[in-house]
């Protein structure tokens, strides 16, 4: 007689966790968009020499300021036109993707290592270490990032390596904050206590009990900081105190195009939109990962 109720239960039986996760990921348009666009940009950056067809540094003063394909007078050899020195804009744009991605990835890596180490130490050990780390986070937050980065780059000289290191050394705050609170949440859970009870070393507890359980937060912060670093590099380069010309950084392209934007707005539109799409993709990826790993905190 309980047949009907059983069939109802059968109907509403929940799908398997893997299926749920798959549905969550592919049902999340932002995440799908972010992953796809980011993958495309990474591929473009990797294969820039094959795709560009031009040397991004080669000047051709006879062919300066050629307009892009949608405008009259465009040159089919330069799909996105040329800049004020006659360099192929498409080639500079594609090579610029390398600069942005490299800076974003390495800055996020450096700051991620620093911030995670500090945050995990503070969260796990607490006490005086926590006090010191929290204090350092406060000091870091108080310092104006753009100003300090500009000043340091100005003193040390602008190169890719310097910019990466400066940004890496400045952007660890969010890693530290998030890792600290994540560790605090799992520190006293049963499985951590169990590991302590069976005499695991601190190193082992942190690496194999705690880290795997806060890795999803780490990845989310890493994506957001990568976007942050890319935007900052562009701003520094735009202000003339980041990567130095003639490196094809998107920030430099916008800065150089500023003189021409009165008559030729496309020179700032093209690198600006590229920058916007890259950062948008990374942000959507990060937001999407956060939603998927903790669907209850959507927002």
């Amino acid at each position: 007689m309980a047949r009907t109720i059983d069939t109802i239960a059968e109907e509403v039986r929940t799908p398997s966790p893997v299926a749920l996760l798959r549905r969550r990921i592919f049902g999340h348009y932002g995440l799908v968009f972010g992953i796809t666009v980011l993958l495309v940009i990474v591929l473009i950056a990797l294969f820039a020499p094959l795709l560009a067809g031009h040397d991004p540094y080669a000047q051709d003063l006879a062919a300066r300021m050629k307009p892009p394909f949608w405008m009259t007078g465009s040159d089919p050899d330069h799909i996105l036109g040329t800049d004020h020195l006659g360099r192929d804009y498409l080639a500079r744009l594609l090579y610029g993707a390398r600069i942005s991605l490299a800076i974003g990835a390495f800055a996020a890596l450096i700051s991620g290592i620093i911030g995670t180490a500090m945050g995990v130490a503070a969260g796990y050990f607490g006490g005086r270490i926590d006090l010191i780390v929290t204090f350092l986070i406060n000091v870091r937050l108080a310092m104006p990032v753009v100003l300090v980065a500009l000043a340091v780059v100005a003193v040390l000289g602008g190169s890719l390596q310097v910019v990466v290191c400066v940004l890496g050394l400045l952007l660890w705050d969010r890693f530290a904050v998030v890792m600290r609170s994540s560790v605090l949440q799992v520190r006293d859970l049963e499985y951590v206590n169990a590991a302590k009870a069976i005499g695991c070393s601190t190193r082992r507890i942190i690496l194999s009990e705690i880290m795997p359980n806060i890795a999803n937060n780490l990845i989310v912060v890493a994506t957001l900081e990568m976007a942050h670093a890319i935007l900052l590099e562009a701003a520094l380069s735009f202000l003339g105190l980041g990567v130095q010309p003639p490196t094809p950084s998107w920030g430099i392209m916008i800065s150089e195009g500023k003189q021409m934007m009165l008559f030729e707005p496309w020179v700032i539109a093209i690198p600006g939109i590229a920058l916007f799409i890259l950062v948008l993709a990374i942000n959507l990826l990060g937001d999407g990962l956060r939603d998927v790993s903790a669907p209850e905190n959507k927002g």
Binding site: M1, A2, R3, T4, I5, I8, A9, E11, V12, T14
Partner: protein, 333 residues
């Protein structure tokens, strides 16, 4: 005068869920007169709280409410505009909630919140609202009422907060008051005080009261009428006397068996229990929802269940008449 102040017929509440619709409340009904107390009893999840929210018009927007009749003081609640419902709420019908700890806004003083309840429905000055607040705080047994007005909720204990909630519900002298498990979150000693207070105030102000509870001891002391809910249905209702003396539905009997009676229940004696779990309310429901846990269930229980009633209005939903089973004196003291 004998018109019911509240008339609920065939009330259903559906909750749309990912996997189908949950039929949380199915075709329940009751009438309540001025000055009467109706107790709705049942386990958690039986739809008691939803029923009270449905009467107040406070159901979350995604829930669907339907009834063949839902009238308060001859006002058809199903066809009231939001603005008209607001004029009723807190004014002619008021509600007291389960969680006094979180039901008061932490950002405002007790006084602010009490006065607001009055000022929303009366075009008078603050002074009058304040006087009313002081008077009611006194009435619900709060000493030094004047000085309490400037305190914040976090400065009061749970018992005091629930008294404040009661005072707030009474600010506009409502004709109907709905108390949704007002004492579950409180200490046992405080529970008794709060219930006695509610019962006294109800009598004094001649209000109709719906008390949602799962405590049969409480029911026995203050109910005029009792409605027993199980899995979204009223399985039995009648006067308190009838329900306690001549329970007809197997579920009601099961509930009553679970109550220890001082002097009669021997130490160590096994109290009754109802084995099994409440069925899922998602999807189409057929037959008696209690049949999987019932010791007198038959094959016929899987199809329609008749509603039976006596001339006095005692009603129950069961294929059996279940006559003659006197309750063995288990009326809680």
């Amino acid at each position: 005068m004998s018109d019911p102040i509240l008339s609920v017929h065939d009330l259903t509440i559906d909750i749309p869920m990912g996997q189908g619709t949950m039929h949380a409340v199915r075709g329940i009904g009751f009438d309540l007169k001025r000055g009467e107390t109706l107790c709705i009893v049942g386990e958690s999840g039986s739809g008691k709280s939803l029923t009270s929210l449905a009467i107040m018009g406070l159901l979350p927007k995604n829930l669907k409410r339907a009834a063949s009749r839902l009238e308060f003081a001859r006002i058809d609640l199903q066809h009231q505009k939001p603005r008209q419902m607001r004029d009723l709420r807190g004014n002619r019908m008021a509600m007291i909630f389960q969680e006094p700890m979180t039901s008061l806004n932490p950002a405002y003083t007790i006084g602010d919140q009490l006065e607001e309840a009055y000022l929303l429905h009366n075009k008078t000055g603050r002074a009058e609202a304040r006087a009313r607040a002081v008077a009611l705080l006194g009435k619900v047994g709060i000493t030094a009422a004047e000085s309490r007005l400037s305190q914040y909720p976090h400065q009061l204990s749970g018992g005091l907060r629930q008294r404040v909630m009661i005072a707030m519900a009474l600010m506009c002298a409502p004709e109907l008051i709905i108390a949704d498990e007002p004492t579950t979150a409180l200490d046992v000693t405080i529970q008794a005080q709060i219930l006695r207070l509610l019962a006294d105030l109800q009598r004094e102000m001649n209000m109709a009261m719906i008390l949602v509870t799962h405590d049969l001891g409480v029911v026995a002391r203050i109910a005029d009428k009792v409605a027993v809910m199980y899995a979204g249905e009223v399985v039995e209702q009648g006067t308190a006397q009838e329900i306690f003396r001549h329970p007809r539905h197997p579920y009601t009997r099961g509930l009553l068996r679970c109550i220890p009676v001082p002097g009669k229940t021997k130490p160590g004696e096994h109290l009754g229990s109802i084995p099994g779990i409440v069925p899922s309310l998602i999807g189409r429901m057929e037959g008696c929802a209690f049949r999987t846990r019932c010791d007198v269930a038959e094959a016929a229980c899987a199809s329609a269940v008749p509603e039976r009633h006596t001339e006095t209005g005692h009603a129950w939903r069961c294929i059996h008449e279940n006559e003659g089973h006197e309750n063995e004196g288990r009326v809680p003291a």
